[in-house]
């Protein structure tokens, strides 16, 4: 295993990292995270489980960028916190370079904490207001013994320069920066320890659109330059399309569809993905072309405390049939390049129902 050195300043020319994804870096196998909640029963407390993440499996290869999309509450952020082991999964495996880190304790996790970094959604609350920028980035360096004693400040300034901040500002506090600048501090902090994979949990949602573009371009540059793999979580499907090689669509704690960007955006197979993509505002209507049909989903997603049987999407799906309630559709290739978890993924609706009737 060769660690990709994060070269900066004069050594910026090192661009030898292949864009083609390499060996599997991170593998989630049937990952489950249930949170216990307490309600008031008549006698004592009733406990129920919020099934935030319920059987997620996916693979991220070296240097690859995987987009994780889905509506609020579908378990995207929980997945991010599981990968970075800020949460301990209820069951399942998190394989990092083949080693299962799902059950490791804090001490055994420390080396992995360096290689798997997280960029947080909110650049305001995620930086400690009582620490200077230099100390925020420097602590990461010190914790993982990344620099020699006297070199720390130089390295901090170097990192600030990489993310486009003034290196002289190391002595300032986070509240003296704007939102976009603060997100850059968060990125510099994540970069400081030369990670192999960065989990970015909606890194641009809290920023306004012009700053979003700047931060996205920065992430794109860093990815090309250092060959860091990304798990990129976002609401904005346009941003994901721009940034990610592969896309996983989540719904209610499970993956509905996963595959290459062009397959997902070009020919989505899962009804939920189709609905999600049809909800993206279409600039064509402004120019006068007839609007694409928009699929409207009715109602709210069901509660993750008591998810529907079988396919989780069936309560809002226009294709739902009897089999959907009985049988949980597996996430596999169904005559498609991407994997889809839907009984009616590829074929037209009528013929499948006809087939099932014929079977019965």
């Amino acid at each position: 295993m060769t660690t990709t050195a994060i070269e900066t300043g004069s050594g910026r020319a090192k661009r030898g990292v292949p864009r083609v994804p390499g060996a599997p870096l991170l593998e989630l196998q049937d990952l489950v995270m249930h949170f216990a909640t307490r309600g008031d029963g008549l006698l004592g407390r009733k406990t129920s489980k919020v099934q935030a993440v319920d059987g997620v499996s996916l693979t991220v290869r070296e240097g690859e960028s995987l987009g994780l999309v889905g509506e609020s509450g579908c378990g995207k952020s929980t997945t991010a916190q599981l990968i970075t082991r800020l949460l301990k999964p209820t069951s399942g495996k998190i394989l990092y370079q083949g080693n299962d880190i799902a059950r490791l304790n804090e001490r055994a996790l420390r080396p992995y904490r360096r290689e798997i970094q997280l960029i947080f959604q909110d650049p305001y609350s995620s930086l400690n207001p009582r620490h200077t920028v230099g100390s925020i980035i420097g602590t990461a360096l010190r914790t993982h013994n990344m620099t020699a004693k006297g070199k720390e400040l130089a390295r901090v300034q170097e990192l600030l320069e990489v993310v486009g901040l003034n290196p002289e500002h190391y002595n300032r506090y986070p509240h003296e920066f704007s939102g976009g600048q603060r997100q850059r501090i968060g990125i510099a902090r994540a970069l400081a320890v030369q990670p192999k994979i960065i989990v970015a949990d909606e890194p641009v949602s809290a920023l306004d659109v012009s700053i979003q573009a700047q931060v996205m371009n920065l992430l794109e540059d860093l990815r090309k330059e250092f060959g860091i793999a990304f798990v990129f979580i976002a609401h904005d499907l346009g941003v994901v399309r721009h940034f990610c090689d592969r896309i996983a669509v989540m719904y209610l704690g499970r993956i509905a569809e996963i595959g290459n960007r062009d397959d997902i955006y070009g020919a989505p197979r899962h009804p939920y993905t189709q609905a999600l993509l049809s909800a993206v505002p279409d600039l064509g209507t402004v120019r006068g072309t007839p609007p694409k049909a928009r699929i409207r989903l009715v109602g709210d997603p069901p509660s993750p405390i008591n998810p529907p049987s079988g396919c989780r999407f069936r309560t809002r799906c226009w294709k739902a049939a009897e089999v959907c309630a009985k049988e949980d559709p597996a996430l596999t290739r169904r005559n498609s390049p991407q994997e889809v978890a839907c009984h009616f993924a590829e074929a037209p609706e009528e013929s499948i129902i006809a087939d099932l009737r014929a079977d019965a």
């Binding site: 420390r110 947080f120 400690n128 602590t139």
Partner: protein, 325 residues
């Protein structure tokens, strides 16, 4: 910073001055007759007049206030039963009942109270913070519930009962007495130990709950999650990031509590027989010893404004977002 502190000191002085003038108005002008009370039952008009004159009650109020402030700055003289008493600056007045300058009385009482209150504060801040942090980290466990329960019970029992019980049962501790710190530090510490524990444990109950609540909040902050993601040790996460943020509200409560206790630790001083400020002021209240009462007001208001100033400066250390201006 220095300029800010200087300006705050000027403001503090004016606050103290206003407090003094207000107390003058209340004590001397109110429809009470301090001279009559002092004179007692077998009072002759001549003696009554003499007491009035000795308390300067025969002068108009502005000149009384003026004399008092003049005494504070340059000292003044008093006449008592034909003899003249020099009262050097800062002169807080002269207690005719005790036949002593008030400044001297306070000079004896303040070290006692200071030793008591500061020692007690060290006990309750350290016990309270530790218990609070432990409970917050183990929120919802048996340890947490027991800690919160015990602190609630301790808080619900009136303080003088807690103090009385401790003083009655803690006979294994060295007997309480006050020795000057510079004369014999060991005696000073052992003589105050029981009182420190009493004041400390009773107050630790509320500090446990303050710091527990504050700590639960700060441990839930996003930047604590960031610290974990960085790979910091749990101790650094909890104390470096969590506790530091939790200290701000605790510090402001501590400032007010300390100022209050410096003049109002009457129960502790009474039960343990320590001749401190609280006890002296209380005695002055019952015997209508006006100069001593006025001294108590002065000491109390100085303690309060000083503590507020210290807390405000401390804020900037604890939280760099706070700017003094």
């Amino acid at each position: 910073m220095l300029l800010y502190i200087l300006r705050r000191i000027l403001i503090a002085i004016s606050v103290v001055a206003v407090t003094l003038i207000a107390s003058f108005a209340l004590f001397y002008v109110a429809p009470t007759d301090p001279a009559g009370v002092l004179c007692g039952e077998r009072c002759t008009p001549a003696r009554y007049e003499e007491i009035r004159r000795s308390l300067n009650l025969d002068e108009p109020l502005p000149s009384q206030v003026g004399n008092y402030f003049k005494g504070l700055v340059v000292g003044r003289t008093y006449e008592s039963g034909g003899t003249t008493v020099e009262c050097e600056a800062p002169c807080l007045g002269y207690s005719y009942l005790l036949g002593q300058p008030v400044t001297k009385l306070f000079a004896q009482a303040i070290p006692v109270t200071f030793s008591l209150v500061l020692g007690g504060a060290i006990v309750y801040v350290s016990v309270g913070l530790l218990a609070g942090v432990f409970a917050a980290r183990r929120r919802g466990t048996l340890f947490d519930r027991v800690t919160v329960g015990v602190s609630l019970i301790l808080n619900s029992i009136p303080y003088f009962i807690v103090a009385l019980i401790i003083s009655l049962y803690a006979t294994f501790l060295p007997p309480t007495q006050y020795t000057k710190l510079f004369e014999n530090p060991a005696m000073w510490a052992s003589g105050l130990l029981a009182a420190w524990l009493c004041l400390g444990l009773a107050n630790a109950a509320s500090y446990t709950r303050y710091s527990r609540g504050s700590m639960i909040e700060s441990l839930g902050e996003d930047f604590v999650r960031t610290a974990r993601a960085k790979g910091l040790t749990e101790r650094k996460v909890v104390y470096g990031h969590g506790l530091r943020a939790a200290l701000t509200p605790v510090a402001s409560i501590l400032g007010v509590d300390l100022a209050y206790q410096l003049t109002n630790t009457v129960f502790t001083e009474t039960i343990f027989g320590l001749p401190g400020v609280g006890l002296m002021t209380l005695r002055a209240f019952f015997t209508f010893d006006l100069p001593v009462l006025m001294g108590g007001v002065l000491v109390g208001s100085i303690a309060l404004v000083t503590m507020n100033l210290i807390v405000d400066v401390l804020y900037t250390v604890l939280d760099p977002r706070v700017r003094l201006s």
